[in-house]
Symmetry: C2
């Protein structure tokens, strides 16, 4: 909340309306749905409904709670408009529906209806969320570790003939048993030729006697997401397959080595891309190198070509180059890494040498 207030002051913005649930949770700790947070330079108030009275009391820090019987966001707008010295309040037009904006305007006194609500040109809270504090880093480290333990457990289940869906089911079951709150995205289990689909959801297809299998999955732990990918091999890889794996691994290690506070995101991306280009695999690497991860599975910064954002100490990003050869195979290797002033600290200590099953 302190960083947000400094940002408001710098921007000369007297008020802010926050309705996006991960932003609300980040700023005041509330995890319920149907809430709106109003922030001025002096005060903050969370509006929610009667179902959440007890939960809000328990969870909310750094804001007063007001239980309302109509739409919380409308109450938040009314409250902001009633604060002394608050003549404008920012909102995120990408996260606000046309219908909600109309409702908010209708709730304002007519003399301020036109100018009070100010669409912000870019997400306002998300960039703050990109830099994690010590508590968040601790939780993300735990989340990544649970992911690695899960990978180890699932390795024992991988054998030809078992269906991709069965592996996804087993993975999610074990995650729950290990105390995960849920999966952070739909588990990707893509085997054989299907490994060439970057986002191959699990299907009834049986794991092959020979070929790659890509597992990309994450869990939610104390609200925070983990994200990791490994490609393993059934049978004996041919030279082309082994070389391709080596190239992806080197690209991933090169990008990891490029991570440090102050470097720009596109330089990290280019570190991976350059390595694959040298092997003639530039075309086969059809996505960005990574993304921030935290309360949401995809957060700023994006680690991709043309991304000028400079990495800051405390950011946590994924590094996940991959190659996809349609009709043949695909490979991806992904770790989470914490940005520090002395380079990147890998949070995903699972082995990366090619596993042959």
């Amino acid at each position: 909340m302190g960083a947000l207030r400094r940002k408001l002051t710098r921007a000369g913005l007297p008020g802010l309306l926050v309705t996006y649930a991960p932003d609300v949770r980040y700023l005041c700790g509330f995890t319920g749905s149907n809430a709106a947070l109003a922030v001025t330079r002096r005060a903050a108030r969370l509006f929610t409904d009667g179902r959440y009275t007890a939960q809000a009391d328990e969870e909310v820090k750094a804001a007063r709670v007001e239980i309302v019987s109509s739409a919380p966001s409308v109450s938040a707008v009314e409250w902001l408009a009633a604060q002394t010295g608050v003549n404008a309040a920012g909102f995120d037009p990408a996260r606000t529906s046309v219908a909600d904006l109309a409702r908010w305007k209708a709730a304002l006194p007519s003399r301020i209806r036109r100018g009070f609500l100010t669409p912000l040109p870019a997400p306002y809270v998300e960039p703050l969320r990109a830099v994690k504090d010590q508590d968040e880093l601790e939780v993300l480290r735990e989340a990544a570790l649970i992911g690695c333990q899960l990978f180890e457990r699932i390795l024992g289940e991988l054998r030809p003939g078992v269906s991709e869906l069965q592996i996804a089911a087993e993975l999610e079951y074990q995650a729950r048993r290990m105390g995960a709150e849920g999966m952070s995205f739909e588990t990707i289990v893509a085997s054989g030729e299907r490994s060439a689909y970057p986002h191959g959801r699990a299907t009834p297809a049986a794991l092959p006697r020979r070929g790659f299998l890509t597992l990309d999955f994450g869990i939610i732990h104390k609200g925070y997401c983990s994200d990791m990918t490994r490609s393993v091999f059934f049978g004996k890889p041919r030279l082309k397959e082994r070389k391709a794996y080596g190239a992806v691994l080197e690209a991933q290690e090169a990008a990891l080595a490029a991570v440090t506070a102050g470097v720009s995101a596109n330089e990290v991306d280019e570190a991976a891309r350059a390595r694959l280009r040298r092997e003639g695999l530039a075309e086969a690497f059809s996505h960005s190198t990574g993304h921030g991860v935290g309360l949401e599975i995809h957060e700023p910064p994006r680690i991709g070509a043309g991304q000028r954002t400079r990495l800051q100490s405390g950011m946590v990003v994924t590094i996940e180059p991959g190659i996809y050869l349609p009709g043949e195979f695909g490979i991806r290797i992904e770790d989470m890494v914490q940005v520090t002033r002395n380079g990147g600290q890998v949070l995903t200590p699972a082995p990366k040498a090619l596993i042959e099953l």
Copy 2:
């Protein structure tokens, strides 16, 4: 698509922009993300990006597909504006962000920028989705049956000391094994005093030696949701508990008996509510009696007090009265039921007599 065109014609609306994913899927079959469907009285076109070329070819019926490299919804707006005789297109202001609307307007020729895009006063496609066709009814019947089989399997796992989370994990694991695409909402496992929380998510709490356990869960099958609830009892229920269960069951049966084409939703709700009122449990029944279910877990119609919608043949709704006595216990019984001209056809053939474990 036929029903939608008739609705457009009746409303004198020459064009419609559909961006809400379940509506897009319903109208043309496309299941990918990042798509927009433009519909006129004569033509329909689906816009999506290059990742979905093959998938769109395979899935899309009743619309031409256009792969675009910029935002699909912007292309859809441009296409609508270029159609002869189309001087206005409706959009859903509750599902459109302020930022998207600004982008759409900017893409229009300036002479039509003001009047072309028409905010619709209410959801346009959702009411059509409420009445299911034969194929949809078949899939919903299958989905509900899988739910019942799942309930039977999980019954064997219920015993004092096992954690609620473990039961949720087991349920979701078995659902996957049975081929479910996923769960239709976060599984509710609420035991002992926690059964008095209408939406008690599974916690690490152990199932009690004595008391109620409420299981509320659903699976996704071929894109369609199932939804069912049963409360079971550990140990021997006391008279008050047994009577309360009996009252909820009678209320549920009364509401089921009230379901038929032509009846209004509030009459069905009242059938359940009246029964509980007679037992002095009106206050304890703190939610509506049910809701439509289909591609989404909550769809129109709502079966609640004051809801004047008349049920139509082909609708599928849940009937789920419950009572919640804080500090004591809660009970809920839920089936899915298909509305026909000859009454309601229950799709959830799991036993409802109180199960004592």
